[in-house]
């Protein structure tokens, strides 16, 4: 927007002095990440990022800090096994949307003690309050010439399905709830750790640091984190997705060459 240009700087006025934490008169939270960029290279086996921050609290009322980290959305297809004639078979897959590929909360106390259900639900804080939903209506989608039914009316076991999405992602360390993950290291100064497993999806992550007082959210600080493939890992991934046929032919040639080379080397010996 052109009209949103910042006003010209005042000509003579001296810059306002930085206000220190002690002189802050408003209840506020500030936070930062040790790394805003996580590189996925050939040695990547997960990453641990430290989030640190400060609570500016002019009063004496105790506060709670909740850190929420949300990865890029990754819809899932879920199947349920049912027993038919003694054999365990998969049901038709159900697509769940709105499930982030990574989600964690860390807090000073269990979330239920910090705020009430309604506030947490409204803010989407906590793994139970993720808006994971099967699409509202049953519809038929054709993908790659295959008719795929996306069902939503799951009936009474809907909650079981929803819980299964969370449980399976928790098992893969993609969803995590740590009620003691935020630790105060000094008065007003806290830290939390974000543990990214090796299977964490690449893309843009959003971190929210909420400050609660007496059960009400009073301040929030937003941070972003980028997880991206770098170096040869990214080159291979992009090659495989941009030029899949060339990539496939190259894989075969490499394999055939290795086989031929091995037989030559071993015959000489």
């Amino acid at each position: 927007m052109i009209q949103a240009l910042p006003p010209p700087p005042p000509a003579v006025e001296a810059p306002a002095p930085e206000r220190s934490a002690a002189t802050e008169d408003r209840l506020r939270v500030a936070a930062a990440l040790t790394e805003a960029r996580v590189s996925v290279d050939s040695g990547f086996s997960g990453a641990s990022i430290v989030l640190y921050g400060a609570v500016f609290n002019p009063g004496d009322d105790p506060t709670d800090v909740v850190v929420v980290v949300r990865g890029p959305d990754a819809p899932v297809r879920l199947v349920k096994k049912t027993r038919n004639l003694g054999v365990w078979l998969n049901s038709r897959p159900v697509v769940f949307e709105g499930a982030p590929g990574f989600y964690m909360t860390a807090s000073t106390r269990p979330l239920g003690d910090i705020a009430d259900f309604g506030d947490l639900r409204r803010l989407g804080v906590g793994v139970d309050h993720l808006r994971i939903n099967a699409p509202e209506e049953s519809r038929v989608v054709t993908r790659y010439g295959v008719r795929d039914v996306v069902i939503s009316r799951l009936g009474e076991d809907y909650l079981d399905w929803r819980r299964a999405v969370i449980r399976l992602r928790e098992a893969a360390a993609l969803y995590n709830t740590d009620p003691e993950g935020v630790r105060f290291v000094d008065r007003g100064l806290f830290r939390a750790e974000i543990e990214l497993p090796a299977v964490a999806p690449t893309g843009q992550y959003f971190a929210e640091v909420w400050l609660f007082q007496d059960g009400d959210p009073v301040s929030v600080s937003n941070l972003t984190l980028t997880v991206e493939k770098v170096g040869i890992e990214r080159d291979i991934f992009e090659f495989a997705h941009n030029r899949p046929w060339t990539y496939g032919v190259l894989c075969v040639l490499l394999a055939a060459f290795t086989g031929w080379a091995a037989s030559r080397i071993f015959r000489r010996q």
């Binding site: 996925v40 490499l254 055939a256």
Partner: protein
């Protein structure tokens, strides 16, 4: 010692993968098989997503079969004519198989079909091999003479049109049965991630009645062409071939295969077949078991997320 696989998007211990490649390569050299039926289940067990495991190890089969075909060609033990007919079928089968696999992934039934294929084909072939080779060992121990087998081909092989001469195999039969056999192996190669040698070799011996000396070399030729096709198709259609994973497996695999081939001379053929039959049967049962055992979690992710 962990390495991140760019397509599988998981981190694995690479010395373990080299070792796995070497062990499977050794077994494949020892028994003259591709070893795909062993590799795919172990990779899945190690946490590689099944579609990536199946697609990536196909190129491992290409490498080990290439060095096999070279050594069989120098011994004039490859019938390129019938191998070509089978490979033509194999290419068609691979095309159909990759599309079928894609469809099954969308339906969420890929693991059912993979488990069933392993149970049925490996179970049947393993049982037959074990039965036949144990009988032969027992007869040898008792000092009996092996009964002479009737060397007659099934009559229907002669009733079909498109007859061709295959001098090296000593055959003058219709091109349809080898073509169909190749196509069948091609479908299996796409679904199970195997070369299909365990089906091809017995079928070429007992149904087509090819000369035994050219059977293994010719089946390897068919396997190379089919699995090469499968690899290209899986990469092109599904983007599930992980070149880092297959290269690590190859390094161990080609070395293991050479040592396995040297060791194979130390054992009697029927003893080798008995051990192989047992391995094949056990893998088949292990893969099939999941159909009957109550799963620890009733829910599971279906691969192939909607785009």
């Amino acid at each position: 010692m962990d390495i991140y696989l760019p397509i599988a998007e998981v981190s694995v211990n690479w010395p373990l993968l080299v070792l796995l490649g070497a062990v499977v390569g050794f077994i494949s050299g020892l028994f003259g098989i591709g070893g795909g039926f062993l590799m795919a289940p172990i990779l899945i067990f190690l946490g590689i997503p099944p579609p990536v495991a199946v697609a990536s190890q196909a190129s491992h089969v290409v490498a080990s079969s290439t060095s096999g075909v070279i050594s069989y060609t120098t011994r004039k033990a490859v019938d390129y004519r019938i191998g070509g007919v089978m490979a033509a079928g194999g290419v068609l089968g691979a095309l159909a198989g990759v599309e079928l696999f894609r469809y099954l992934l969308l339906l969420g039934q890929a693991d059912l079909v993979v488990a069933l294929s392993y149970l049925i084909f490996l179970g049947a072939i393993g049982t037959l091999m074990l039965y036949e080779s144990l009988g032969q060992i027992l007869r040898r121990v008792r000092g009996q003479v092996t009964p002479h087998k009737e060397r007659r081909r099934p009559l229907w092989l002669y009733g079909l049109p498109l007859r061709m001469r295959f001098p090296r195999s000593g055959l003058y039969i219709s091109a349809i049965p080898p073509f169909a056999l190749g196509a069948f192996a091609g479908v299996l190669s796409a679904i199970m991630g195997v070369g299909g040698g365990f089906i091809l070799v017995p079928a070429m011996l007992y149904i087509l009645r090819m000369k035994a000396s050219v059977v293994v070399g010719t089946s390897l030729l068919q396997i190379i062409i089919t699995t090469a096709m499968t690899t290209v198709l899986q990469a092109g259609r599904n983007q599930t071939v992980d070149i880092v994973l297959s290269t690590i497996l190859l390094l161990g695999g080609v070395v293991g295969a050479q040592y396995g081939a040297r060791w194979s001379g130390r054992f009697r053929a029927e003893e080798l077949r008995a051990v192989l039959g047992l391995i094949v049967l056990l893998v088949g049962i292990q893969m099939g078991l999941e159909l009957f055992v109550r799963p620890s979690d009733l829910f599971g992710f279906a691969p192939g997320v909607a785009e």
